[in-house]
């Protein structure tokens, strides 16, 4: 029973989701709307689980007998969490917690935003180091990767057009870059997308029909 009932639930919910797509009539559409509501509710339950786990792991790390030098960072995690959670739950005007000027918003603007923006921003460095390392003409395939990247990058920078001013109209670097993006690039993209569609369809079908239920674990 530990696997049969879940398998049936997945089947039932999956089939309803497919049916509502073809039958506009009540009740299928309403059912799927309800399901999506439930899914979001489940997510908001799940985060409790995640946070409890995070607290447990962090505290264990900090309180462990092993005297590692970075054990105190566990406390930092817990305290940061408690700081924003307590402020957001009790001291930021309840449901208006996100309104500019609230204490929660202050933390959001001055702590959360710089951290996430900076993490995103270091991509600028990583994209550079990855380009330098990966775009080498080691093999024919690697050469194609390099050539496409190189031409498109040149075409996107003003310097590309400056270097190709001698070329006739329509054959400047930016035109070449555009050509690569609109034709060969699209061809590869299409093959990938069609492949993905079939992969998703097949995986979904296996999940709905219970042919693949490793996600449920053992008995």
């Amino acid at each position: 029973m530990r696997r049969e009932i879940p398998t049936f639930i997945a089947f039932f919910v999956g089939v309803i989701c497919i049916i509502q797509f073809f039958i506009p009539h009540w009740p299928f559409g309403t059912m799927v709307d309800t399901f999506s509501d439930w899914f979001i509710i489940l997510q908001s339950f799940a985060i409790w689980l995640g946070v409890l786990n995070l607290m447990k792991v962090s505290l264990e790390r900090s309180l462990s007998k092993k005297k590692t030098h970075d054990r105190w960072y566990g406390f930092v995690v817990v305290l940061s969490f408690l700081l924003i959670a307590v402020i957001g739950m009790f001291f930021s005007g309840g449901r208006e917690f996100q309104v500019p000027g609230s204490r929660f918003d202050y933390l959001y603007v001055n702590v959360y935003t710089p951290l996430s923006s900076t993490m995103f921003a270091i991509l600028a460095f990583f994209v550079a180091s990855a380009s330098y390392r990966a775009f080498r003409a080691r093999s024919w395939e690697a050469t194609l990767l390099l050539a496409a990247a190189f031409l498109v990058m040149l075409g996107r920078a003003p310097v590309g057009d400056m270097l190709t001013q001698w070329a006739p109209e329509g054959a400047h670097m930016s035109d070449i870059a555009n050509w690569i993006m609109t034709y060969p690039q699209v061809a590869g993209q299409r093959a990938i997308m069609i492949g993905i569609a079939l992969g998703v369809a097949s995986a979904s079908l296996r999940l709905i029909l219970g042919l693949e239920r490793s996600y449920l674990g053992g008995d």
């Binding site: 600028a124 550079a128 380009s131 190189f150 996107r156």
Partner: protein, 283 residues
């Protein structure tokens, strides 16, 4: 004994990534100190966009939907600022919303910095009459759908909690059909694609869009019939600033961006030259 020092070319093949980081960092920081700006060739999409702006009559009712968050702000904020400057210049009545929770905040900042422009020093803007910020609503494309039929019930209160019925600018605004023009600046979902599918296709909005560079390829097919213009990434923003006569952050940022971009290209060249040179030697 120490190993023999690797040759210059071998070292060029294995440059420590931190060296590259330094070059990129310097390239991006340095131009920020100067007010040099390069003239850029304007793409047809941005030219269309600026022309579409110009065509909107002064005093028109314009919807601004800012659908992005701080991480995407470097590319998109300059667009928003310039779009607000044009709005102020043309005395648009501006209604601001966001489909992303942080959008309305970004809009507020953008409008404030637009107002700091020399041209608008003496401008007295009245909240609730000249512009309003209706804030964020969750629901993604469903919000657009709902705005198509009834805006006051979709946004019952503004950003600051004032009922919309008390705001003079909202008098007579029933749905999306009431707007003469719309500016959308977006970093992904929900954003330009949804506005086109639900706002333009179903309710006939006249709309222009500013997108992140990454998203531009996805939305560029809409330009023409569904979008009256499109600006993509920092470059699009800089072109827009140049055309609209409000040189700003993007034109300044563009220089650093181009330089850093060229540095990446140079490193790729160095790596390959070294690779080929050393390979030849071994043979």
């Amino acid at each position: 004994m120490a190993e023999p020092r690797p040759s210059f070319l071998t070292r060029m093949m294995r440059i420590d990534r931190r060296v590259i980081f330094v070059f990129i960092g310097v390239a991006l920081i340095f131009p920020l100190f100067f007010s040099i700006s390069q003239r850029i060739q304007v793409s047809p999409e941005v030219a269309m966009l600026t022309a579409a702006f110009e065509k909107v009559p002064d005093g028109a009712l314009v919807l601004y939907s800012l659908d992005y968050d701080p991480p995407s702000a470097p590319e998109l904020q300059p667009m928003a600022v310039t779009a607000f400057k044009l709005g102020l210049k043309k005395k648009f009545r501006m209604v601001i919303i966001g489909l992303w929770p942080q959008g309305p905040q970004q809009a507020d900042q953008a409008l404030q910095s637009a107002l700091r422009d020399e041209q608008f020093k003496d401008l007295k803007l009245t909240y609730g009459l000249d512009y309003v910020n209706l804030g964020f609503q969750s629901g993604n494309e469903a919000v657009i759908q709902k705005m198509g039929s009834d805006i006051p019930t979709t946004f019952p209160r503004d950003y600051a909690g004032t009922p919309v019925a008390e705001l003079p600018i909202m008098k007579g605004i029933k749905n999306l059909g009431n707007f003469d023009f719309m500016v959308n600046i977006s970093a992904g979902y929900p954003g330009t694609r949804e506005w086109v599918q639900f706002g333009v296709d179903r309710f006939g909005l006249k709309m222009i869009s500013g997108s992140t560079a990454v998203q531009t390829t996805e939305v560029s097919p809409y330009v023409g019939r569904q979008l009256l213009g499109l600006m993509g990434g920092m470059r699009g923003a800089a072109e827009f600033e140049q055309l609209s006569g409000f040189p700003g952050r993007a034109m300044k940022f563009m220089v650093g961006q181009s330089v850093a971009h060229v540095i990446v290209i140079l490193f790729i060249i160095i790596g390959n030259v070294a690779y080929f040179a050393t390979r030849g030697r071994k043979e």
